[in-house]
């Protein structure tokens, strides 16, 4: 339950809906019990020709109970679902509040791209928590207690049997299966992961598998793994089925015992025979409320896992950020800053190889620097460290002589125009997406930058789909540049901003950029070596190291690494 503490806390914020769900769940459960108890009583009474008013009353009650039950069930569903969805909303907000300060660093720590969809999925799967884990047992217990109290009025023995039934079907069996189920579910997840990995290998590696004649082997292996997965699924289903059967058997047994005990008592004269049918019907009906308990183990385990995964992301991270808040140094980034890097080395968490090795750099205020090198050489990592997206590095990075470690993350972000390799665009319009850059931007300003990046055919009201799905790679890049231009900070950090833009457009955009950022400090990470003549400095990197640096002419004259890369680029068609 510990993992679910926060979820329960958030749920209790919707106290009214929760209480109403329980209340109506109780009424619905009791309605059914009362209905059947009453009908059992009715016909028993009828068999011994009672006064008519008793019958009329019973019949009136019969109607009342059936209507109560049906309406309460409806209300219960309504309130419980409302509570659930409101809880999800609270949960998202709560989670976002805590995740937000950790971004974007956290995304670099968990390099797997599915972290986010996992978060979304986990939140979603917690909707079952209230609906199937939390309140059904509560309702069950209250309905049982009320029923037990009612039967105790007629026979203590019957009541004792019902108490026994409640303990077994409501606690012992579900808990026992919860423990048993845990291992299977764990195993199931692993097997599913294996199937997924092997299927991915089979399909993505198809050509190589085929040519190396390993396809049959892989097919067999995958078939086996998939079969194993199905067998485990079967085991899980059968387990759940057993749980259900055990609960059903116990319910029937208790009703049987109630009948036997009742019959015994009536025969012995200590219970009026007219109540026998009623007690039996009561017992049979009250166990309807135990049915949801057969799904309890699975949903409980699901919720527990989802919750613990969800909060482990933010808790673990939360530790690192605390404590350093106090002594931030203020620096002025309204003017172009100078950047110095001293003896910088960095390794990605979980990897052995250095991503950056003893980097020394000095970029004067207002200078224009290009960083080039093959993919994986550490170009982007350098930008990320500068933006404090990762902090566990050796050496130091200085902005105007102040170590970035001492500058507040937000201050650096505010002071820079960043264009990443992947830039996010939100569902909405072009205008809304550009509007992120700065408050109170006029349409004229936005249209002007669209023109600069050669997107004049776009209107500000054009819609943007999720992740900019309706935009091409080049359009997204140009839009990102436009957004950065609007922001107007004095430090430019650009990571392959135009890799999907054709050479001609790229040059025009760069002309605009260099014009706008004439006084600004610029760092441009580039794959292409074209158009770097205007840069003050070109840094060439390979395998995390700076191999050479200098102006375009210097590097070409030197005929070193850059020169050779340039020769290759020249010789590549398209």
């Amino acid at each position: 339950m510990n993992e679910l503490r926060v979820v329960i806390k958030l749920m209790m914020k919707e106290k009214k809906d929760v209480l109403l769900s329980i209340l109506f769940g109780f009424l619905a459960g009791m309605g059914a019990v009362a209905l059947f108890a009453n009908s059992g009583y009715l016909i028993s009474k009828a068999a011994i020709t009672p006064p008519l008013y008793i019958l009329t009353m019973s019949i009136a009650l019969l109607k009342l109970f059936s209507v109560t039950r049906a309406l309460s069930r409806y209300a219960e569903r309504l309130y419980s679902h409302r509570a659930t969805f409101t809880k999800l909303s609270n949960l998202r907000v709560y989670f976002f509040e805590r995740l937000e300060p950790l971004a974007p660093r956290i995304f670099h720590k968990y390099r797997s791209g599915d972290l986010l969809s996992r978060i979304v999925g986990d939140v979603e799967s917690l909707q079952n928590f209230f609906l199937r884990v939390y309140y059904p047992p509560i309702v069950m217990i209250i309905v049982f207690l009320a029923t037990i109290a009612f039967t105790a009025f007629f026979s203590i023995h019957v009541a004792v049997f019902l108490i026994l039934g409640l303990i077994l079907t409501g606690f012992v069996v579900p808990l026992w299966f919860t423990v048993k189920q845990r291992g299977i579910l764990q195993q199931l997840r692993e097997l599913r992961g294996n199937v997924s990995t092997e299927a991915t290998e089979f399909l993505y590696g198809f050509r190589d598998l085929k040519l190396y004649q390993r396809l049959d082997e892989q097919e067999k292996k995958l078939t086996n793994t998939a079969d194993g997965y199905v067998s485990e699924q079967e085991r899980e289903s059968v387990q759940e089925l057993s749980n259900q059967s055990v609960i059903q058997t116990l319910s029937l047994l208790v009703s049987w015992a109630v009948l036997g005990m009742g019959a015994y008592l009536v025969a012995g004269g200590s219970l009026d025979g007219v109540f026998l049918a009623m007690l039996v019907m009561t017992s049979i009906t009250v166990f309807e409320n135990a049915t949801p308990m057969s799904a309890f183990p699975r949903y409980y385990e699901d919720s527990r896992r989802a919750s613990s995964r969800l909060f482990s992301v933010i808790e673990e991270e939360g530790m690192e950020t605390r404590g350093v808040e106090d002594d931030w140094e203020q620096i002025d980034l309204t003017k172009a800053p100078a950047i110095d890097v001293e003896n910088l080395s960095f390794t990605f968490p979980g990897e052995k190889r250095l991503a950056l090795k003893n980097i020394h750099l000095s970029l004067p205020a207002g200078s224009k620097t290009a960083i080039v090198g093959p993919s994986g050489s550490g170009k982007s990592t350098l930008i990320q460290l500068l933006l404090k997206m990762n902090k566990e590095y050796e050496g130091a990075i200085y902005l105007n002589g102040t170590s970035v470690r001492k500058i507040k993350d937000e201050a650096i972000w505010k002071g820079s125009n960043v264009i990443m390799q992947e830039n996010h665009f939100f569902y909405g319009s072009i205008g809304e997406n550009l509007g992120l850059a700065k408050d109170d931007l006029s349409e004229g300003e936005m249209n002007a930058v669209l023109e600069k990046v050669k997107l004049e055919e776009f209107s500000l009201t054009d819609s943007v789909l999720e992740k900019g799905g309706n935009l091409s790679g080049g359009e997204k890049q140009r839009l990102a540049i436009a957004r950065a231009m609007l922001k107007g900070s004095k430090l430019w950090l650009m990571d392959e901003p135009t890799s999907s833009v054709d050479v001609l457009t790229e040059r025009m955009i760069f002309d605009h950029l260099l014009h706008q950022g004439d006084d600004d400090t610029m760092i441009l990470v580039s794959h292409r070596l074209i158009g770097l003549e205007k840069m003050d400095q070109i840094i060439v990197m390979d395998q995390g190291e700076i191999i050479e640096s200098g102006t375009y002419e210097e590097l070409m004259d030197k005929q070193g690494y850059f020169y050779e890369m340039k020769q290759i680029e020249n010789s590549v068609l398209m």
């Binding site: 059992g40 009715l42 016909i43 028993s44 009828a46 020709t49 019958l55 019973s58 019949i59 019969l62 209507v67 049906a70 069930r73 409806y74 409302r82 969805f85 998202r92 907000v93 976002f96 971004a103 974007p104 986010l116 199937v195 290998e201 399909l203 198809f206 050509r207 190589d208 598998l209 085929k210 040519l211 190396y212 004649q213 097919e219 998939a226 699924q233 079967e234 289903s237 089925l241 059967s245 029937l252 047994l253 009948l259 009742g262 019959a263 025979g273 049918a277 093959p374 933006l387 937000e410 972000w413 850059a437 999720e466 050479v503 794959h527 390979d542 690494y561 590549v572 068609l573 398209m574």
Partner: protein, 577 residues
């Protein structure tokens, strides 16, 4: 869905088990009611002593045990059926993919196919494990109960027969209304539910623009909007259950009223019958209601089943290999392309009648703009896809007349993005070898491919795990692993898709030297992007829009083909400015 039903019917044994168990279940439900009534009746009205009812009490416990047992067997049978179907579908999908997944892989649909294989097949489960057994049960049990009631008291039976049909009718009416409503809300729902992910994905961007905090309210609002939109749909579903509940409850109350009145006022019904009917009535309606919820879970399966079946029915162009031996000669085979045609399907890209001849040990460059059919031609040459018309002759015989293994034994394919299998570096290189390669041979190949040094620096050396879940390699390193595979294999034909961008100088140099070395003994066919490769080729196949527009050496094409000339010169001009 018809197909699913047919599949279920084909599992004859399981179906018979289900029918038999349902009949038995019906029988014990009736027996249960009967015995309870007997006991209550004897004790309460006949005033018998306890030991008289003991036999009935003991029979009852057997009957109750039977009820649990039959329910369990029905559930288990369903689960087994589901497992079998899932296994069969996976197998069918896999063998289909194994026969010819190339089209899918080429269209970049691998991710989608993984999802069909994993998720869609899993979703079929509930049709067999829940819906189908319940359906059989519901066609049998209520009828048996009804018959039992009719045999005792036809008036109650009539009440139930009249009210029961309202349940399916309401289910259908309301099911349709729900569907319509949810379709109406679909876009809204998708939009609201996507918002959270959208914001999370854009969190870095938001932070960089200092906008993240503002989004909290947007998340709350969209979540609440989602809640309200969902609730409007759910309300209909709830109203439907309410109506069902009303129908069954009122019907039961009606029956209770009827038996009660006849019992007392008309005195023409014994207590025994009245109680019997009263116990069975809810069983009857419960069985009908359960079908409703099972139907709900079965419906999801149908959509998934459609996906799987569509996938299985998609037409393919299977590749058939013959059994002619391809004996290893001193020199590589002569290859001849005769009017080679290929299409990815109607309206999409096609290759139009390529004619060329590739002499043994020659060096061919395939050149053209992107989308001109270069890679398709390379795939055809490898034999993993078959031409729709025309043929490839190898040593004068159709390529696909040879034994598959013998052709592939002589072939290496180095793609731009070579696939690394999960396993060690040694295994990944050794996969190129014809037989089990010794570590010495692997090391020699790695040496030649210029990756030995990098491997030796790794802590686990050649035993380092790479591929899925293992250590990532850079693009250049992957290329060199692929080269090492080729060096180990010593193929007579090498197909090479030259990288367009982004390799480190070391790999570039290794590639140039290695390809030269490999070309001495092998035929090398390269989709070429580098001028030096093109210049040095014995023959250039110049492609445009799926057609082979010209062939010859670089010099010849410069003279004879203006399109080629402009491509090369524009490019050079573009770079040297």
């Amino acid at each position: 869905m018809k197909q699913l039903k047919e599949i279920a019917r084909k599992q004859k044994n399981s179906m018979y088990t289900l029918v038999l168990m349902s009949i038995l279940l019906g029988a014990v439900i009736i027996a249960q009611a009967y015995l309870i009534v007997v006991i209550v009746d004897s004790i309460f009205l006949q005033g018998e002593s306890f030991h008289v009812i003991l036999p009935a009490l003991l029979s009852l416990i057997v009957v109750l045990g039977g009820r649990s047992f039959f329910t369990y067997v029905i559930g288990r049978t369903g689960v087994k059926m589901a497992s079998k179907v899932k296994r069969n579908y996976r197998k069918a999908l896999l063998s289909k993919y194994a026969r010819n997944p190339m089209q899918g892989a080429l269209k970049g649909q691998s991710g989608e196919k993984v999802s069909i294989l994993l998720d869609a097949v899993d979703e079929i489960d509930s049709y067999f494990s829940k819906y189908y057994p319940q359906m059989i049960q519901t066609t049998i049990v209520p009828i048996m109960i009804l018959t039992a009631i009719f045999s005792q008291n036809w008036v109650s039976g009539l009440i139930m027969i009249v009210t029961a049909p309202f349940i399916p009718i309401f289910m259908i009416i309301i099911g349709k209304a729900t569907q319509r409503k949810s379709e109406e809300q679909l876009e809204k729902l998708a939009q609201f539910s996507g918002k959270f992910l959208d914001i999370l994905q854009g969190l870095t961007t938001l932070k960089l623009f200092g906008r993240a905090k503002e989004k909290q309210e947007a998340i709350r609002q969209s979540s609440l909007d989602y809640r309200d939109a969902t609730m409007t749909v759910l309300k209909i579903a709830f109203v439907s259950s309410l109506m069902l509940e009303f129908i069954s409850m009122l019907s039961i109350a009606l029956v209770a009223l009827e038996v009660g009145l006849r019992l007392i006022i008309y005195e023409n019904l014994p207590f025994f019958t009245a109680f019997f009917v009263l116990i069975l009535a809810p069983e009857f309606f419960n069985s009908l209601k359960e079908l409703g919820s099972a139907f709900h879970s079965g419906r999801g399966s149908m959509g998934a089943a459609k996906k799987v079946i569509d996938e299985l029915e998609e037409t393919e162009q299977p590749v058939q290999w013959g059994d002619a031996p391809l004996e290893e000669r001193k020199e590589p085979p002569a290859i001849e392309l005769r009017n080679l045609k290929f299409s990815y399907g109607e309206g999409s890209f096609s290759l139009k009648g390529v004619m060329a001849s590739i002499p043994p040990a020659s060096d061919v460059a395939i050149v053209g703009r992107s989308g001109s059919g270069k890679t398709t031609l390379l795939h055809l040459l490898s034999g993993i896809i078959a031409p729709s018309q025309g043929e490839i002759l190898v040593n004068g015989k159709g390529l696909h007349q040879y034994k598959e293994a013998e052709w592939f034994d002589q072939l290496a394919y180095i793609s731009q993005n070579p696939y690394l299998f999960s396993g060690t570096i040694q295994e990944n290189i050794a996969i190129g070898g014809k037989e089990e390669a010794t570590i010495e041979k692997v090391k020699m190949a790695a040496e030649k491919a210029g990756i030995a040094e990098m491997i030796s620096k790794l802590e686990n050396g050649y035993s380092t795990e790479i591929g899925e879940g293992g250590r990532g390699l850079s693009g250049g390193e992957k290329q060199r692993i692929a080269l090492a595979r080729a060096f180990l294999k010593k193929p007579s034909v090498i197909l090479f898709d030259e990288p367009t961008v982004g390799l480190d100088l070391h790999t570039e140099r290794v590639l140039q030297r290695a390809m030269k070395e490999l070309a001495v003994t092998s035929t090398v066919i390269t989709v070429a992007h580098r001028l030096h490769t093109i210049r040095e080729a014995d023959q250039i196949l110049f492609m445009a829009n799926g057609e082979l527009v010209a062939k010859g050496t670089h010099e010849e094409l410069l003279l004879s083909n203006s399109e080629y000339r402009s491509m090369v010169s524009v490019h050079e001009g573009g770079n040297t400015k």
